[in-house]
């Protein structure tokens, strides 16, 4: 079997964000970067399948030089090789362009299964996986929280609202988008981190794979107006507790 997993590098969501000079995206300086949370589940599922079937597993990521750090984590988790699509401007690309790049890469490689996250944490469009599948003409099942593979067929559970799940089966080739809780993503061990350093990690210029025109672009990025206007309390724990108890007594009936 031949498997592809697509990952994105995103900033830590607890970062203090700043809008960049052009006013179109967040400033990338001084941010801590990590693997998109949903993609960790995608990598784990792909690695588990590889362990079971002896498949060959490629991890792909589009982005600037720094994304290689995140790709190394995927290699340490068990991917066999990395393909870095070098693109300093990946943050300005729309989901359609990102999907076109992935589909262009995957088109000639006949992957049996492609794993993506259900959405990216920063831009969160939940489009790239489905678009790649449509471009390649393979079935796509989104938001999976359960996965099994047996003799050319995948049996998955799609998560719906309220905790209900839909059971779906599909032949391969297919693409699945992974939801939180699908599995328990492993922490790379030190020996595996060392081994990962020797694994193949090639960079391909984005121009080699980008054949499509963007359909949309971010025209402005900004902080939403604060509407909540709730009270913000800061200070010493003892004082904070006293203040909060006073408020709860005044505003709610729970301490009466």
């Amino acid at each position: 079997m031949n498997i592809l997993v697509c990952i994105k590098q995103v900033p830590d969501m607890e970062s203090k964000f700043k809008v960049d000079g052009a006013g179109r995206w967040y400033d990338g300086a001084d941010l801590a970067w990590r693997m998109n949370e949903y993609d960790e589940y995608a990598v784990e599922q792909a690695v588990q399948l590889k362990e079971k079937t002896g498949a060959d597993l490629t991890v792909l990521c589009i982005g600037p030089e720094r994304v290689k750090e995140t790709m190394k984590k995927a290699l340490a988790m068990g991917c066999d090789r990395g393909v870095h699509v070098a693109d300093e401007a990946s943050s300005t690309k729309d989901p359609f362009s990102i999907a076109s790049i992935i589909a262009e890469f995957a088109g000639s490689k006949s992957f049996d299964l492609i794993f993506t996250g259900m959405q990216s944490q920063d831009r969160g469009s939940a489009q790239v996986g489905v678009l790649v599948a449509e471009m390649l003409g393979v079935p796509c099942i989104t938001t999976i929280v359960g996965f099994a593979y047996e003799g050319g067929t995948i049996s998955v559970k799609r998560e719906l609202e309220g905790g209900v799940k839909a059971k779906v089966t599909s032949p391969v080739p297919a693409l699945v988008t992974c939801q939180l809780g699908l599995n328990t993503p492993r922490y790379p061990t030190l020996p595996n981190i060392m081994k990962a350093k020797k694994k193949e990690l090639v960079s391909v210029p984005v121009a080699d794979l980008l054949k499509a025109q963007a359909l949309a672009e971010t025209s402005a990025l900004y902080f939403p107006e604060k509407k909540g206007g709730g009270l913000v309390l800061e200070g010493d724990a003892g004082d904070l507790a006293d203040k909060l108890i006073r408020i709860l007594k005044e505003k709610t009936a729970v301490l009466a």
Binding site: V19, Q121, T169, S170, K227, V232, E234, I247
Partner: protein, 305 residues
């Protein structure tokens, strides 16, 4: 501008999201038609054309077939904008329709400013305006971002559509969430643990405060996914929807899927080290503190009252 609103039907019932779609159409002041794979016996109250496909023959989940049906309705209605809810149905189907139409899709739209859709970025800490370069557009709407002030009225004019297509994928029915155990929907006070608790042992800190307040403890999704709490304690779109007198969110950032489950609470207290955490937007009081040091102090003082 002509809209096609894609309504949803699941487990034999029309879903309430049709109202949000109508609210959006109202805001846009646009002429709209509706689409549904459902039954004639259960159609939305709507003044306009409803393109209706029969759920018996088309199935509740069959994206290849539903895509063909939406495309048929788009072509009949001459819609310039196709509008879905950002739900498990919508985010699954919308990109397929967008790709077929060669249209740009904007996901999880929260508002439209001077005709330009706005979407959240980084857990709603930021927003972006999206300039669309295609004639037709596909949107998915964030759940709850648009809502009707009054109950809708009217009877749609039904135009039946059907599909002959099939799919290699097959749908094998639903699996219901496990029931039983604690019922958060009845609790007057809920103290919820988020990923900020750091490790499973710290559930005890949260449960301790819940007990002092004579309530129950709940959890955000990562805490449940990590199996630090049972699924029936999860608050949010894929868990419980609660409306207690007091909700205390501890180490919870305030993602939209969590807020959807607790924003009807009467009074909300958030305890978070990040002053800018989006939970601050719905909290009556945001205590900026490390929960591990603050909550034990608070619990002790409450117990001493």
């Amino acid at each position: 501008m002509k809209l096609l609103l894609v309504a949803e039907y699941r487990e034999g019932k029309l879903q309430g999201s049709a109202n949000d779609l109508m609210a959006f159409a109202g805001k846009m002041g646009a002429e709209s038609a509706m689409f549904l794979v459902g039954t004639e016996a259960d159609v939305p109250k709507f003044e306009g054309t409803l393109y209706l496909a029969d759920v018996q023959s088309c199935g509740e989940y069959n994206p290849a077939v539903h895509k063909q049906l939406v495309l048929e309705a788009v072509s009949r209605s001459k819609a310039e904008m196709v509008v879905f809810s950002h739900s498990s149905y919508g985010w699954d189907l919308a990109p397929r329709v967008a790709f077929a139409l060669k249209a740009a899709q904007v996901s999880e739209v929260v508002e439209v400013v001077e005709g330009v859709p706005v979407a959240p970025v980084c857990n709603s800490k930021l927003r972006r305006k999206v300039a669309v370069k295609t004639g037709q557009t596909v949107l998915t709407l964030q759940s709850g971002a648009f809502s009707l002030a009054d109950e809708p009225s009217g009877t749609p004019v039904i135009e039946k559509i059907s599909s002959t297509g099939g799919s290699v994928m097959s749908f094998g029915g639903y699996e219901q969430a496990v029931q039983g155990g604690v019922d958060l929907t009845k609790a007057q006070v809920i103290v919820s643990a988020g990923r900020g608790i750091g490790k499973p042992e710290n559930i005890a800190i949260i449960a301790g405060l819940a007990k002092a307040l004579k309530g129950e403890y709940g959890a955000s999704r990562p805490v449940v996914d990590a199996e630090w709490a049972e699924h029936n304690r999860q608050v949010g779109t894929t868990g419980q929807t609660v409306s207690p007198k007091l909700y205390v969110a501890c180490g919870i950032s305030g993602a939209i899927q969590h807020l959807a489950g607790m924003k009807k609470s009467e009074f909300v207290v958030a305890i978070n080290t990040d002053k800018d955490a989006p939970i601050g937007e719905v909290a009556d009081v945001l205590v900026v503190a490390d929960l591990k040091t603050f909550i034990p102090v608070l619990t002790e003082k409450i117990n001493a009252l």
